[in-house]
Amino acid sequence: MAEVRAQLRAYRAVLASRARSQASYRASFRMDLVGALAIGVIEFTEVWVLYTATDQIGGFTLTQVLLVFGLADVAFCLADLVAGHCDRLPVYVRAGTLDVFFLRPQPVLAQLVTSDLSLRRLARSLVGVAALTVGLVLNDIEWGVGAVGLLVLSLVCGFVIFTAQFVTAAGLQFFLINGAEMTNAFVYGGRYAATQPATVWPRALLVVFGTVFPVAFAAFLPVSTLLGVPGVSGLPTWLGWCAPVAALWAVVVAGLCWRRGLRHYRGAGG
């Protein structure tokens, strides 16, 4: 036990140093925070514009979609904070940074995850938190243990699902040298998808984002269970409770992709 604690202390020290190093360039840090917040605000404005131009889209009103947007956005921003820099793997491979990771007596994935901690991503989650709060107040929710449990479950599973997407993408990067953008389709495409009602998706996307990369379970399905709004036709309304199954599946896929990718890696000749 003491040994585990000592190991964790090492990671904590690394992460604290990353956080301090960003805050030390104050002007740049502040501009970064403002920029990240601006991007979040603009993203929300797009949703707001679309839903105020019409009464409802895919069976969801603006008030109801606030919950979907808020839950998905908060979960994604937290996942982005923890694992978003897995995106930089191709850069690390090319620069030889990754080879250094192999020399240290720590798991490569753990080193990759702790290699950066972009605090500005926290600023961005403020927009999601605000949308979620307003959504929780304005919607007609039957409060109880069930409702709170479902919300917490959705947030945790959403976070796990999005983190797993980042790791899956990183694993695939070992095979996709020069094709890094391919994984954006399900990482950032998945994020965009998760903020929408799945009722508007074409069938093919429903399969992709409902099963393979199960981001529909991050926000839309739990919200549709919570509000009792009929989700995708033919699917039961209690499906939102299955978010942990989807999260588990995402983790298994991510683990397989990462392991295979790592085995495939032969160094960049650095």
Binding site: I39, V200, W201
Partner: protein, 272 residues
């Protein structure tokens, strides 16, 4: 008398060609970009189509067909215009390499803008056309009504690409004063796509926001070319769109030129 230089030896022509060739060297990157593009297109098409449906088949003058055209033409243009605000020049200013650019006997502005336009033009083939083909396969998107609309649309598209890269050049020149321009890029990234009509047509915006958008060069990069290409505006209206675009192109080019002239006196190359 010296012989007239052939266009192939003109340095500016070669910058344009170099941009095209640089981009064609990475076919896998292009395929990857197309996959991401198509996924976003399907998602965007789904939500925008549902929005048109739920408002009774007509939303801010868009039918299901013209909305599909908006989505897929927009996706097709994404590889050719720059909405993320970063550029080669931005990096070269930060690292000091730009000092070499200033020593060359060519215009720094023309060299950078033309190279980027070249990249953008090439991207129309592997990313633009396939996006439109996917759009045609999965939706009933509207097409230009006649040959004139195609011709005007292509001109409008070309000017749109030029406005985009000339504006990003202007953004990069702020580095001559600031050196580190990440914050400026992030600001550009958050505003440009939104005001250009990347996510939803700007005509859906409330009046004040629409007016604000039309007072910037951003709609000239995407919304206006899409209007002309999809036949949403024709004849004299299309001509007016082109005039607005040309006006913005001239404005950002002149601003970029002035900023380069003023900024090169301020430039301090870091390091040794």
């Amino acid at each position: 008398m010296r012989p007239l230089p052939s266009p192939a030896r003109n340095p500016y022509w070669r910058f344009l060609v170099a941009g095209v060739r640089g981009q064609s060297a990475y076919p896998l990157a292009t395929l990857a970009g197309l996959t991401a593009n198509a996924t976003f297109g399907l998602l965007k098409g789904g939500i925008m189509g549902a929005a048109v449906d739920s408002s009774g088949g007509e939303l801010a003058g868009y039918s299901a067909a013209t909305m599909a055209a908006f989505v897929w033409l927009g996706q097709g243009m994404l590889g050719s215009v720059n909405f993320w605000g970063g550029s080669d020049l931005q990096n070269r200013i930060r690292t000091g390499d730009v000092a070499v650019d200033f020593l060359r006997p060519v215009s720094v502005q023309a060299a950078h803008v033309l190279t980027d336009i070249g990249k953008g033009l090439f991207a129309l083939l592997p990313r633009g056309l396939p996006s439109v083909v996917i759009g045609l396969l999965v939706s009933h998107m509207a097409l230009p009504p006649d040959a004139t609309a195609y011709a005007l649309g292509l001109v409008s598209l070309l000017i749109g690409i030029a406005v985009s890269h000339a504006t990003v050049y202007l953004v990069a020149t702020t580095g001559l004063w600031l050196v580190e321009t990440r914050g400026v890029s992030v600001l550009y990234m958050s505003l440009s796509g939104f005001l250009a009509g990347l996510y939803t047509p700007v005509y859906l915006y409330p009046d004040w926001l629409l007016t604000l958008a039309l007072c910037t060069p951003f709609p000239s990069m995407m919304q206006l070319p899409i209007d002309v290409l999809s036949g949403r505006v024709t004849g004299a209206d299309a001509g007016q769109h082109l005039a607005v675009q040309l006006g913005w192109l001239a404005a950002v080019l002149v601003a970029g030129h002035l900023a380069t002239r003023a900024g090169r006196r301020r430039l301090e190359v870091q390091g040794g």
